[in-house]
Amino acid sequence: MSETAPAADPGPAAATSKEFRERGFGALVRWDSVVAVVLVLVLLYSFGSVKNFGNSLNLSFLIGNTLPIAIIALPMCMLVASGQIDLSVGSMAGLSGAIMGALWNNGWPIQQIIPICLAVGLLGGLLNGLLVTRLGLPSLAVTIGTLALFRGLAQIILGANAVTDFPEQYLTFGSGRIGSSFVPTAAIPYLVLVVLAVVLLHVSRFGRAVFAIGANEQAAYFAGLRVRRTRLILFALTGLLASATGVFWVLHYASARYDNATGLELSVVAAVLLGGIDFDGGKGTILGAIAGVFLLGTLQNVMSLQDVSAQTQIIVTGVLLVVSVLAPRTARQVRQYAARRRVVSAVKRAASASA
């Protein structure tokens, strides 16, 4: 994980003794590693003491139900790292599902429907991206607008119908697993996406540009980075993957409705936040985002198995989020305070030595 971290935050491996002295434990304890460790602990606990957690059927449910969030979290992580956000992803997933249902009802073959849905996602993402980059509008406002727009279109296209009679082998792809293992069929293409996302954000120059833009847009611009184009590409990718999530959602739950994936954007943002992606931009890792996604998914699964009520689950998630936003910031402030104290005492020492 540390090798792929951006230059701005070298991570634990790069923590030299000097840095360690300057930054204290903060150099060792990075938030995304904390989340990953917590995830492992939660998993160990669940395997050990939650009845029915460890069987392959449950694990496949856990992963399958988390996949929609996990797919969108990949581009969302990059978008947030570049200092932007897209809140229209849930609506785009719904729109993509509505188009799928409507075309299917009209007798289109599914191999033609899916590319159309993905193309719509790409266009929707481009629309968001153009509004943000060309008109200079804030992405929060733009995507709250398109959140309503896409959902409205979905309702016009499909109405209150639910389409469920998609072909068996596609539904099996959406909700089945490989043999009797715990791996959902759809996890395989997802893993390909993860590899691509890691390479794109952490190995390629495109990724370095993303972090540079997120850290300081002006500086990145004057350094010759193509700020607007980079962000446009990120918005387009987010739209594309949001529509892919919509397609997956329809197949996984065997249900194309206009209100599919309502509120999904909040889960995605929550998971990305939890995974340590800085909302001011410039910081974060794909693997942190994935750890965040699956930590939320696992907690939800465990709480359901233990009959924790839905309301309590929401509260637990909320508290977790507040902590995940609060903890890194508090840690940073403590570090800064400690550093200032050290500087002050060093200055005092120097002053008394010279006196």
């Binding site: 191999q111 993905l118 068996e168 293409p189 193509r226 997956f248 959602w249 739950y253 249900s255 359901s304």
Partner: protein, 368 residues
């Protein structure tokens, strides 16, 4: 950015797009809606086999079973009442009751997750009111494969995704009994109208069909259906439609509104007008909606099934299935506690029975 790195970035973006495509397309095969119906019906054979074991009507009822209720929506008074009925029945039999569900009535993904969780918890049976006839199928078949009995109540899934559907009332009973109810209130004389929901609502139109058929009987020769109005299940539209009916047909003596929204709006109009108590109103409504209009004399009686009994019957059915008394095949008979004996009809449907009529004599016994 140099030309070379820009190209590499573009390649990566294109690669991502390709991977996304593969995510959608990796299950291949030429499939359109028309061919799909044949594949899905051939694929459903495995689930129906679960209902084909042999039933032993004399098998003793097992105790200590966990039966989970999964309503369309939790904290909805209607489902609170029906699930409460299920709890009563299960407690009486010595079983364990639990209720889970989503707070939204259109959260199909949430319902699927709950079915999956219940499968994991290895409950004995699930009683579910499906938000969507098809969406729960994969999950419910998975549950049945794991030995869990599945009963739908109030709202069915596709027949091969459950063992038994406990139906609140037959369309024929609902349609005919509303005419019978109004006939009695009018002494079988006068013009009547129907205030329906949307013109395209399938269930409404089925009921109206039976109403028209019932009206052909000789005892209704002095009752004339003058109009079917449509309020679109919108309170304001239904209110205006009622107003329109009264102005258009001064001799109107009765209205049937087979929709809870419509009957409430019509009652609201009538109670504030000079027609109160003179024009009879009946139909399908809930006691909580209609209580004040029954008490102030606007409505003499209306009907609906008793959701409490619906939940009880679902619970008894689930226990009978889990105990092996029935398998869900048509023609099988079992005893549902105080509710009496029931026989499974065609495609695994059990009818609760005649609708319950609510009037000022009994309305305070109900809270939903």
């Amino acid at each position: 950015m140099s030309e070379k790195t820009a190209r590499r970035g573009r390649l990566l973006v294109a690669g991502t797009a390709l991977a996304v495509l593969s995510l959608g397309l990796s299950a291949c095969g030429s499939t359109t809606k028309n061919t799909a119906t044949s594949t899905s019906s051939s694929g459903s054979g495995s689930a129906t086999t679960s209902a084909s074991g042999s039933a032993n009507p004399n098998a003793p009822l097992k105790t200590g079973l966990t039966v989970a209720f999964l309503p369309k929506q939790v904290n909805n008074p209607y489902f609170t009442t029906s699930d409460g009925g299920g709890k009563t029945a299960l407690t009486k039999l010595g079983e364990t009751y639990k209720e889970v569900g989503t707070s939204s009535a259109t959260d199909t993904a949430g319902q699927v997750s709950y079915v999956n969780t219940l499968t994991q918890q290895q409950v004995a049976a699930i009683a579910v009111s499906a938000q969507d006839a098809g969406a729960l199928c994969t999950a419910l078949k998975q549950a049945m494969k794991n030995g869990i009995k599945v009963v739908t109540y109030d709202s069915d899934t596709n027949p091969d995704c459950r063992q038994v559907f406990v139906s609140q009332a037959s369309s024929e009973d609902l349609g005919r009994s509303e005419v019978q109810l109004l006939g009695k209130q009018l002494n079988y004389t006068g013009d009547i109208a129907i205030l329906s929901a949307a013109q395209t609502a399938t269930n409404q139109n089925t009921w109206i069909g039976f109403m028209k058929d019932e009206l052909k009987k000789p005892q209704y020769k002095n009752m004339k259906l003058v109009k079917v109005a449509y309020g679109n299940d919108d309170a304001q539209t239904s209110f205006q439609q009622t107003q329109g009916l009264m102005q258009q047909y001064p001799n109107l003596k009765g209205i049937i509104s087979p929709t809870t929204v419509g009957i409430k709006a019509a009652a609201q109009y009538l109670s504030g007008s000079s027609y109160k108590g003179k024009v009879m109103l009946t139909g399908l409504g809930t006691p909580n909606d209609m209580r004040q209009y029954v008490k102030d004399g606007t409505v003499a009686g209306f009907e609906l099934w008793d959701p409490g009994k619906l939940g009880q019957l679902a619970a008894y059915t689930a226990v009978a299935l889990s105990s092996g008394q029935i398998t869900g095949a048509s023609g099988e008979t079992f005893t549902a506690g105080d509710l009496g004996s029931y026989t499974i009809g065609a495609s695994g449907i059990i009818l609760l029975g005649k609708p319950t009529v609510f009037s000022k004599d009994n309305i305070d016994q109900f809270n939903f």
